[in-house]
């Protein structure tokens, strides 16, 4: 279950709980690997949700996970920041490497891990607090001792929300529209400056206009962060992602390649059928 080769390399980086500032060199996209899965199997009780998946996700790119309902793509996403730990019956075998370390190693604190990985959910879930407190939430719980207001402004700008809310930072986050709420959640996720941002169908609960704003935003985010996004919407995957992974029923990763390749000339017939809408 654990990967002994990488265990010693940078075990400190996951256990520290401080916010790192400006330590990442975020210039042009590199081809370094941010997250890698090796022989990953996930079970819910007796049912297998992910079947022997291995894949490497590049740094500072947008990687889309697509596939029909129940194919395990959200489960895969939640393995990366160990949100599956919350589900009692969930059992994980194999490795998920992040920052040169298997996140399922015994000495990894999942709470410390999640401080380096932001997450955005399907349904916007801002806290019933002010906009400022929502964005500052991660900073607060991590004991950030820099200038919180400056970081809040930066994050809201990063989430393309600053101009709309700069005069009402003290009003409740719940007063915003659905699309604004989702961008607030993105601002909240990027405020502690994570390395990876996970998005679980971030636009499926939004109207097309709000969704397209989020798509534009995801494009910008990839300049600074590794973005991994689960989506049901194939056009969306084609528009915004650099790499696409296609999961099919049974939790198998059927094909994983550059997005243009997947959408124009997939290797597998099943993938082509799925993308052209013959099933799914």
């Amino acid at each position: 279950m654990s990967n002994t080769e990488t265990k010693t390399e940078s075990s400190d980086s996951l256990i520290t709980t401080d916010v790192e500032t400006g330590s990442n060199d975020r210039t042009a996209p590199s081809n370094r690997t941010a997250v890698a899965a090796r022989d990953l199997n996930v079970y819910y009780g007796d049912e297998q949700a992910i079947d022997d998946v291995s894949m490497e996700i590049p740094e500072k790119r947008v990687t889309a996970l697509i596939g029909p309902s129940g194919c395990g793509k959200s489960t895969f996403l939640r393995c990366i920041n160990r949100m599956n730990d919350m589900i009692d019956v969930c059992r994980v075998e194999g490795d998920v490497e992040f920052g040169g370390k298997n996140v399922y190693d015994g000495d990894v604190d999942p709470v410390a891990l999640r401080r380096k990985i932001g997450m955005v959910f399907q349904k916007p879930n801002p806290f019933p607090k002010s906009i400022r407190d929502n964005v500052a939430y991660g900073l607060k719980i991590q004991g950030f001792d820099g200038d919180v207001d400056e970081r809040v402004e930066e994050s809201l700008k990063g989430a393309a929300l600053w101009d709309e809310v700069k005069d009402q930072l003290d009003s409740s986050g719940l007063e915003l529209s659905g699309g604004q709420q989702q961008r607030l959640c993105i601002a909240r996720a990027i405020a502690p400056d994570p390395e990876v941002v996970l998005m679980d169908e971030p636009t499926s609960a939004l109207d097309p206009v709000a969704a397209s704003k989020i798509e534009d935003l995801i494009d910008d985010l990839a300049e600074q962060y590794t973005v991994i996004i689960v989506t049901h919407n194939m056009q969306q995957a084609a528009r915004i992602s650099d790499r696409t992974a296609v999961f099919l029923t049974g939790g198998r990763l059927v094909e994983y390649d550059d997005t243009t390749k997947i959408f124009e000339d997939p290797e597998e017939q099943r993938v082509e059928d799925y993308i052209t809408g013959k099933f799914g």
Partner: protein
């Protein structure tokens, strides 16, 4: 033609019987109305007995109706600014008068005499009081009304909380409090403020240990020290000054420094002047208790006045207390001048401030009121803290499956069953555990508070669990995904969201605790004590115990007048307590 097709259609579909639904609807409506009606009649009679209204002269009623009720209703209508409402109100008041008088006369003529009621009183209870309630509600939605009621609420609430403070100091040692405050709380607050202002986290972290150390030090110093400042100075230093400072901070936060100094300083100066020199100056009021009450009432009132003047809207509402006071005075004056006979209510100053007596007219509830207030304060703190802790543990910390999950379910079932155990059994538990085994004494405040806390704990836990469970899981996952620990998620997201619900459950449970008699009898609380308790370990009584004792007295004055007065006092205190808690809850809900 049209009718033809309609019939054809009707025949085509047939009809579905709704008889059972309609019968059910009216039966359930009837059942609930019957219950409420019975309770209303009881409360009307209790009120009539407690205030001796049966002997009230119709002229006396008319006088106060004209000087107090009519101006108040006028104020509400003025605030609501709704001509249609005004017309309806006048119609109800006038039509009600005619209708009640007619129906009442008819009943007296054909059915028989209605005991201790006349048509004027019936009109009061059937028309005037509901109308007043409704118009108060409508008036409060207008700006002047909301300002007026806000001011009156702060006046009454502040006085009540101030009095509660003085009652608590009957049993809690004010000198120990003085030392704990001076040595523990003040240094801790200073450290915290210093840390916040100078960005020194170490000072903030030090605040808690400093306060604990200070309190421990205070416990030792209490024995060693011989001389202390007077009680009035202690109250000034430990209560009035911090409350005034808090008020000033609130006003300062709204942007005005001079106003902040005034809002904090004026009530403080008034409280100090009356408290320290009132008696000597021959004002008739004074002493430490007056100091506390003035400070606790004056500061919120001053802060509120600043807010109202700042908003500059609905200023006429500030006249409401003046209007009511003037109305009461004018009524008294008229009654005096024309020699109208006044009723002698059982709920009187004597009743509220004197000890029980063998003579009905001298009987008082004071020691029992003090006892009840102390118990309720302790039960509220104990059951809230324990209930929230247990429910957080059960909902947020235990697993759903496996051995732990099984144990949790077992615990859950047991808690649910505990809620159904008769209170006498809890009394027995309190007797065995707290009074005998732990030696906390028979019928002492500590024993009774602990017993009642145990009694309502299951209810508190179950309702708090419901509140916590109703917090959407999305929020928890959102917080977890940010890298929050379980505790951080609970503290920052779950508890603030669940707080109003938790408070609702605690209020209901406390309502049960304040009225309990059986467990008090079991742990040996006295039915009657003649002086308020002087410590947590002295013998004391509670309101329901005293009422129960009076109900067994042979004299009719006790069984009707004094018991009714006791019930009314108990209900008013209960409603006041619940009202405060509900306001707090609504404030918390608005905060989101």
């Amino acid at each position: 033609m049209a009718t033809d097709t309609d019939t054809a259609r009707g025949e085509g579909f047939g009809e579905v019987s709704r008889v059972r639904g309609i019968v059910f609807e009216y039966l359930s409506l009837g059942a609930s109305v019957l219950g409420i009606f019975a309770l209303a009649v009881l409360l009307i009679y209790v009120t009539i007995d407690a205030f001796d209204l049966a002997n009230a002269d119709p002229l006396w009623l008319l006088t106060y109706f004209l000087t107090l009720v009519v101006p108040f209703l006028g104020f509400c209508l003025y605030s609501a600014r709704d001509p249609a409402l005004t017309r309806r109100a006048v119609a109800v008041a006038g039509g009600g008068l005619v209708a009640v008088a007619a129906v009442f006369t008819a009943i007296e003529a054909f059915v028989g005499e209605v005991p201790r009621l006349n048509w004027q009183l019936t009109y009061l209870f059937v028309a005037v009081i509901p109308l007043t309630g409704y118009l108060t509600y409508m008036g409060a939605r207008g700006r002047p009304g909301s300002v007026g009621f806000g001011l009156i609420g702060r006046l009454i609430g502040g006085t009540a909380i101030g009095l509660a403070f003085t009652v608590l100091f009957l049993v809690f040692d004010e000198r120990l409090w003085f030392l704990a405050y001076t040595l523990g709380i003040v240094p801790a607050l200073l450290a915290y403020a210093y840390g916040q202002l100078r960005d020194t986290p170490a000072a903030v972290t030090a605040a808690l240990p400093v306060s604990i150390l200070g309190v421990l030090l205070a416990v030792f110093a209490r024995e060693a020290l011989r001389t202390y400042p007077t009680t009035a100075f202690i109250y000034l230093w430990t209560l009035a000054i911090p409350i005034a400072a808090a008020g000033a901070v609130v006003v300062n936060g709204r942007g005005s420094r001079t106003a902040a100094l005034t809002a904090g300083g004026v009530p403080l100066a008034l409280a100090a002047a009356v408290g320290l020199f009132g008696r000597a100056a021959g004002l008739g009021v004074g002493g430490p208790n007056a100091l506390v009450v003035i400070a606790v009432t004056g500061v919120p009132v001053a802060v509120y006045l600043h807010r109202v003047f700042d908003a500059g809207d609905g200023l006429t509402g500030l006249g409401l207390p003046v209007l009511l006071a003037a109305g009461a005075l004018a009524g008294a004056l008229v009654v005096e001048t024309f020699g109208i006979p006044t009723p002698s209510p059982w709920v009187s100053e004597t009743f509220l401030t004197e000890a029980p007596s063998r003579t009905a007219s001298e009987a008082g509830l004071y020691p029992a009121i003090v006892g009840s207030v102390i118990i309720i304060a302790m039960v509220a703190v104990l059951s809230f803290v324990l209930g929230v802790a247990t429910s957080v543990f059960l909902e947020e910390y235990t697993a759903d499956s496996g051995v732990v999950g099984g144990l949790t379910r077992l615990l859950q079932i047991n808690i649910a069953n505990l809620a159904a155990i008769p209170s006498v059994v809890y009394g027995l538990l309190g007797l065995g555990l707290f009074a005998n085994f732990l030696g906390l004494g028979f019928g002492t405040a500590v024993t009774v508070s602990l017993t009642l806390s145990l009694l309502i704990l299951p209810i508190t836990i179950i309702s708090a669990q419901e509140a916590i469970r109703s917090v959407p899981d999305d929020l928890r996952r959102g917080s977890d995904a940010m890298g929050a620990t379980r505790w951080q998620t609970t503290k920052n997201v779950v508890l603030p969201e669940a707080f109003p619900g938790i408070l609702t459950g605690t209020i209901l449970a406390l309502g049960r605790a304040i009225g309990e008699t059986a467990p008090l009898i079991m742990v040996g609380a006295a039915t009657t004590v003649f002086s308020p308790p002087s410590s947590l370990f002295s013998k004391f009584s509670a309101m329901p115990m005293q009422i129960y004792a009076w109900a067994n007295f042979p004299q009719a004055e006790f069984r009707y007048g004094v018991v009714a007065a006791g019930v009314i006092t108990l209900l008013i205190i209960l409603i006041g307590m619940n009202g405060t808690a509900i306001l707090l809850r609504n404030r918390a809900e608005e905060g989101h």
